[in-house]
C-alpha cells in the first residue's frame, strides 16, 4: 500500500496533461488502449484488485461468491464476462464497480438486504455507474483531478498523523475516514473514493438505471425504494443523536444523501415498469445463513447497538432463523446495558432458547443473566443446559465454575 500515494500523484499528473475524454455507454468486452487515460485508470484499478485478493477481510466462500456472480450476471447481461465480484467481510452497506470490472460487495450490504431483489437493485445501481462510464465523465469534467488531489491530501494527513494527532483535513476526506473509522486503511479508501464519488445527477441516473436493470432481470422493482428506506430507518435507529440527525447515504463513497426526491423518482419510474417481479427471499437467506453469526458479530463490534437491532428486526421479519437472530438481539441488549436492556436481553435469549437453531451460548448467557437477577435455580438449569449442549466447549470449565459457585452458595 505504501506505493499508492506515488501512483496517485502520477495519475493526477497524467490527467493534467490529457484533454477531456468523451464518455459514452460502454460496449461489452471493450478494453481501453493502455496508453489512454482510461487505460491508466484501469491499470490503477488492476493493482487495487490484486491487493483485494490477499486482504484479510476477503470472503473466499465459493458458494457465496458463485451466488453473487449469478445475480450480477442477471443484472449485467452481456457485460457479465467483464465483471469480477469480491465479497468483503466488512460491516457496512457498500458496493462498488470499478471501470476495469472489479466489483466489491460488502457483507454489511448482504446482511441488510431483505432479499435477492434488493441485492440486484444495488448491483444494478453500481452497474449503472459502470455502463454509463461515470468515472470517465468525472475525468471529462476534470473533477477527478480534484478527487485525486483530495485522495493525496488524505494520504498526507495520515502520514502527518504521527506528529499531529487529531489533525483535521477537508470535510470531503473526513467523511470517508469517519464512515469507516479504524476498520480499513485510509489509503485504500482515498483511492476508492477518488473513483466512486459521483455527481448528484450521476447518482440519480444510476438509481433509475439500476431499477430498470433489476426489473428487466425479472426482479420486483419495488425493492429499489425498500433498500433505500431500510438504510434511512437504520440511521434513525442509531444509539447516537448525531448519527440520527445525519443523512443516510447509499454507500460510504456516496457524497449525496438518500433524499426524498431520489426515492420519489424511483417510485415514479416504478409505475412505468412491470410490477410483480420476483423477490428471491428464500434464495438470499439460504446464501447468507451460514454467515449470519460472524456478520452479526462484526456488526455488534461497531457498537451502535440501536442500528444492529434494526438490522436484526429486518432479518427476523420473515420469521426465519429466530434462534440465531434472537440470540444476537440478546447480545445487542446485553452489550448496550442501557436502562432496561438486561431485561430485554433476557427476553431475547429466552425467545431464542425455544428455537431449534439457538446457539448453545444462549444458555450460558441466560445463566449469567439469571445469576445477576438472583434467580439461582433458573441460572443453574441454564448452565446445566449449556454444558449438556456444548460439553466440548473450550469455556465449559468456566461455566462449570459458575455452576459450582452457585451450588456452594445455595
Amino acid at each position: 500500500m505504501r506505493a499508492v500515494p506515488v501512483s496517485l500523484a502520477a495519475l493526477a499528473a497524467a490527467l493534467a496533461l490529457s484533454g477531456p475524454v468523451q464518455a459514452a455507454e460502454r460496449l461489452a468486452g471493450s478494453r481501453p488502449d493502455i496508453a489512454s487515460v482510461e487505460g491508466g485508470l484501469w491499470g490503477e484499478m488492476d493493482k487495487v484488485e490484486a491487493e483485494a485478493r490477499t486482504r484479510g477481510d476477503l470472503n473466499r466462500d465459493p458458494a457465496l461468491n458463485a451466488y453473487m456472480h449469478e445475480i450480477m450476471c442477471k443484472v449485467a447481461g452481456p457485460h457479465c464476462a467483464d465483471l469480477r465480484v469480491y465479497v468483503m467481510d466488512r460491516p457496512y452497506f457498500n458496493a462498488s464497480m470499478a471501470p476495469n470490472g472489479y466489483t466489491e460487495i460488502w457483507s454489511g450490504l448482504l446482511l441488510r438486504a431483505s432479499d435477492e431483489a434488493e441485492v440486484a437493485y444495488v448491483l444494478g445501481h453500481e452497474f449503472g455507474h459502470f455502463v454509463e462510464t461515470h468515472s470517465l465523465e468525472r475525468y471529462a469534467a476534470r473533477k477527478m483531478r480534484a478527487n485525486v488531489a483530495m485522495a493525496a491530501s488524505v494520504v498526507v494527513a495520515v502520514a502527518g498523523a504521527s506528529s499531529a494527532a487529531g489533525a483535521t483535513t477537508s470535510g470531503e476526506a473526513q467523511s470517508i475516514i469517519d464512515a469507516t473509522r479504524g476498520t480499513i486503511d485510509l489509503i485504500y479508501y482515498a483511492q476508492m473514493a477518488a473513483l466512486f464519488r459521483f455527481t448528484r445527477e450521476q447518482e440519480s441516473e444510476a438509481d433509475l438505471l439500476g431499477q430498470r436493470r433489476a426489473g428487466q432481470a425479472g426482479y420486483d422493482v419495488a425493492a429499489a425504494m425498500e433498500s433505500w428506506r431500510g438504510l434511512i430507518a437504520e440511521t434513525q435507529a442509531s444509539d447516537f443523536k448525531r448519527v440520527r440527525r445525519s443523512e443516510s447515504r447509499s454507500s460510504i463513497f456516496d457524497s449525496h444523501p438518500l433524499s426524498a426526491d431520489r426515492i420519489a423518482a424511483l417510485e415514479t419510474q416504478a409505475r412505468t415498469l412491470t410490477p410483480g417481479g420476483e423477490r428471491g427471499r428464500a434464495r438470499h437467506r439460504a446464501a447468507i445463513r451460514p454467515f449470519l453469526p460472524a456478520w452479526l458479530r462484526d456488526d455488534l463490534r461497531r457498537r451502535d447497538f440501536g442500528q444492529t437491532l434494526a438490522v436484526i428486526d429486518r432479518l427476523a421479519a420473515g420469521g426465519e432463523d429466530l434462534g440465531v437472530l434472537n440470540y444476537y438481539r440478546g447480545e445487542a441488549y446485553r452489550l448496550r446495558r442501557g436502562e432496561g436492556d438486561l431485561a430485554k436481553a433476557r427476553e431475547a435469549y429466552l425467545a431464542a432458547s425455544g428455537q431449534p437453531d439457538a446457539p448453545a451460548a444462549t444458555w450460558r448467557e441466560l445463566g449469567d443473566i439469571h445469576r445477576r437477577d438472583g434467580a439461582r435455580a433458573a441460572a443453574k438449569a441454564a448452565y446445566e443446559t449449556y454444558l449438556a449442549k456444548a460439553p466440548q466447549a473450550e469455556d465449559a470449565w468456566m461455566v462449570q465454575d459458575s455452576l459450582s459457585s452457585l451450588e456452594r452458595s445455595s
Binding site: M1, T54, R55, G56, D57, L58, D89, Y92, F93, N94, A157, V158, A159, A161, S162, A165, G166, A167, T168, T169, G171, Q174, S175, I177, D178, A179, R181, G182, T183, I184, D185, L186, L231, T235, S238, F240, R242, V243, S246, E247, S248, R249, S251, I252, R301, R303, D304, R337, R364, E365, D368, R371, R372, E394, D395, W397, M398, V399, D401, S402
Partner: protein, 198 residues
C-alpha cells in the same frame, strides 16, 4: 451509511511508530523491574521500548511495550482497570470501544479482550483455549488469540485477564504468527510469571 464530521483518528501505532528510533515519544524500558502502576511491577528479561505515548486510544492505565516495533510485537500491560476504564479508549463518542463494567461475567471478560482487539485494526479476532491463569495475586483466565491484519497477515496473541479487589488486570501480547510470535513468547511468559501486585 452515516457520515460524521470529526477530527482524524490518529493512526498512532500503525503509521507513527513504524520506526521506533524515529519517534521521540518512545522511551526505553530496560531489562529489570518495570513499574506498570502503583504497586504493580513486572520483570523484563531484556530491553523493550515503551511506546505507550504513540498507541491508538491510549489511557493513563495502559502501557504498551515493543521490541521491534508495534507491527512486529506488542505487549499491553494494564494497571488495575476500574468500571468505566478501557484497554483502548474511544476517539469519539459515536465509535465506542469496550469498557470495564462492575458486573461482568466470566465470558464478558474474554469478550472485553476480543472486542478491544477488534477495536484496534485487527480482523477475524478469535479467542482460544481459555484456561486458569493469574497476574501476580490476581486470578483469572489465560488465553490464546488469533486475528488478521487488514492486509491479511496472520496474527497470534496470548494473554491473561485477571481480577483482584474489583480491579481488572490485562496482559496481552500480539505478534505476526510467522516468526515473531514464537520468537518472543517465552520472554512474555516469563514477564507474566514475574508479575507482582503490591
Amino acid at each position: 451509511m452515516t457520515t460524521l464530521r470529526t477530527t482524524i483518528r490518529p493512526l498512532g501505532i500503525a503509521a507513527a511508530a513504524l520506526s521506533l528510533a524515529a519517534c521521540a515519544s518512545v522511551v526505553a524500558a530496560p531489562a529489570g523491574a518495570f513499574r506498570v502502576g502503583s504497586g504493580y511491577e513486572v520483570s523484563l528479561g531484556r530491553d523493550w521500548s515503551d511506546i505507550s505515548a504513540v498507541m491508538a486510544g491510549k489511557t493513563r492505565k495502559v502501557r504498551l511495550l515493543s521490541i521491534d516495533g508495534p507491527l512486529l510485537n506488542r505487549l499491553y500491560l494494564t494497571d488495575g482497570l476500574a468500571p468505566g476504564d478501557f484497554l483502548i479508549k474511544p476517539e469519539i463518542k459515536e465509535r465506542p470501544t469496550p469498557v470495564i463494567r462492575k458486573d461482568m461475567s466470566a465470558s464478558e471478560r474474554l469478550e472485553f479482550i476480543t472486542d478491544s482487539v477488534a477495536a484496534l485494526e485487527y480482523q477475524r479476532v478469535e479467542l482460544a483455549k481459555p484456561r486458569p491463569g493469574r497476574i501476580g495475586e490476581a486470578s483469572g483466565v489465560r488465553f490464546d488469540l488469533t486475528a488478521q491484519t487488514r492486509e491479511g497477515l496472520d496474527i497470534k496473541g496470548a494473554g491473561v485477564i485477571a481480577e483482584r479487589g474489583g480491579k481488572t488486570y490485562v496482559l496481552l501480547y500480539l505478534a505476526p504468527a510467522e516468526h515473531y510470535f514464537d520468537a518472543s513468547l517465552a520472554k512474555v511468559e516469563a514477564i507474566m510469571a514475574s508479575a507482582r501486585l503490591g
